[in-house]
């Protein structure tokens, strides 16, 4: 029996539903939901004028036979149906096939253009598999990692695409390794950079929108929208000093200024663009407002 002054419904439900045999995340979600239901019953009864003991009795009457409920839940959510049919028959075989083809090409060191298409397709298919299994993912994965991966995939696809249509050596030589050149010359990479920057607004919106649709909190929506910039931080903090050592031109620039300009071009500016796109979806949705008014 829960503590009468403040019932701990999660512990109460958890103890009685130990016979539910589901993956941990799903099991915890059921406990969370049923505990929330009992809490609502208790609070509703209290608001109707019942005293504490009567309200507890009302809530407890919701389940007469806990082992039977555990069995019903096991029947409703069987383990063998953990992965849906489309994931098993389309997404996973497709990803495995493409991944294998990509690895063969890497080892053969052939057709770099085709390799890029393959990795893009792999990322997009992983995203498709994730979306297909969204019902089975735990809330954090659904509202944070999956939307973040969507915005990251979009940003990466854009970079790859630009890499394919322009001269990759010019691009990486003039912008990636020397971000300060953006302000001085190189019209073609510069125009690409600004288009790419504008596209971040869209990608930030995409991540935050997906997160909101999955019920993500504000923090999750911000994180999902800004994930590409967060990845860029990691990449540039670790890679820029290394690549600069191999660049003859970098010797003329002091390393701290070089890193700072790289961080500005690849992290700060995209982060602002991503958050700008995410902003409309960081606010509460209509559904949240409905929930708050109940």
């Amino acid at each position: 029996m829960p503590d009468r002054t403040k019932p701990d419904w999660k512990t109460f439900v958890s103890k009685r539903l130990s016979a539910v045999s589901l993956p941990e995340a799903e099991h915890n979600e059921i406990i969370r939901e049923l505990a929330a239901h009992l809490e609502e019953c208790y609070a509703h009864a209290r608001s109707q004028g019942h005293d504490d003991e009567e309200a507890l009795a009302v809530a407890l009457r919701e389940v007469a036979d806990w082992p039977a409920l555990a069995e019903d839940i096991n029947r409703a959510k069987p383990l063998e149906d953990e992965m849906n049919h489309r994931t098993k028959t389309v997404w996973l075989p497709g990803i495995a096939l493409l991944f294998a083809a990509g690895l063969v090409l890497v080892f053969l060191d052939r057709w770099p253009l085709l390799q890029r298409f393959i990795w893009i397709a792999c990322m997009a298919m992983l995203l498709g598999a994730g979306a297909s299994e969204a019902n089975r993912l735990n809330p954090r994965t659904k509202s944070l990692w999956l939307p973040g991966f969507a915005s990251m995939t979009a940003a990466a696809i854009f970079l790859f695409a630009a890499d394919i249509v322009s001269d990759p050596f010019l691009f990486f030589r003039q912008i990636s390794l020397h971000p300060q050149d953006l302000l001085m010359n190189s019209a073609s990479p510069r125009s690409f950079y600004f288009v790419w920057l504008l596209a971040q607004v869209l990608f930030g919106a995409l991540g935050a929108l997906f997160s909101r649709r999955a019920g993500g909190t504000r923090t999750a929506r911000i994180f999902a929208g800004a994930l590409p910039a967060i990845i860029f931080v990691g990449t540039y903090v670790s890679l820029t000093p290394i690549t600069s050592m191999f660049s003859g031109k970098a010797a003329t620039s002091p390393l701290p200024a070089y890193v700072a300009s790289a961080l500005f071009v690849w992290v700060a500016a995209p982060a602002v663009a991503l958050l700008l796109g995410a902003a409309p979806f960081i606010r509460e949705s209509d559904q949240n407002r409905i929930a708050q008014s109940c």
């Binding site: 059921i30 939901e33 929330a36 009992l38 019953c41 409920l69 839940i73 409703a76 019920g215 409905i290």
Partner: protein, 113 residues
């Protein structure tokens, strides 16, 4: 107050009751049970034990999808909404129940509203 219908019959009607409610707006479990009881004047009632296995079953079939939301008081609620597949089930289910009432009426003289 309307006479309460036995749990066996109300359980059978659960799918159409839930689909009809969710066709109007997304709701969380407690609210679904509350609205069913209110709208049927207490004739149909669902407890936690009878409601959630049904919701999970319908979710597994792809008729419903759910997501967590938190109200200002910090209370967690898992909102259910109809998927396009679930919406498609409504018309055939309504027809099925209509046929059922007609058959029952012909057999036992039970007229429906």
């Amino acid at each position: 107050m309307t006479k309460r219908i036995s749990s066996k019959i109300s359980r059978g009607s659960g799918e159409i009751a839930i689909l009809s409610l969710l066709a109007q707006q997304p709701l969380y479990g407690f609210e679904i049970a509350k609205q069913i009881a209110e709208r049927t004047h207490g004739a149909l009632t669902f407890t936690l034990a009878s409601l959630y296995p049904l919701l999970y079953e319908m979710e597994k079939r792809g008729w419903l999808e759910a997501r967590w939301e938190e109200n200002e008081a910090g209370r967690d609620r898992r909102y259910y909404r109809l998927t396009p597949t679930g919406r498609k089930q409504l018309a055939p289910l309504r027809q099925e129940w209509r046929s059922f009432f007609q058959a029952l009426d012909a057999l036992a003289g039970v007229s429906h509203a």
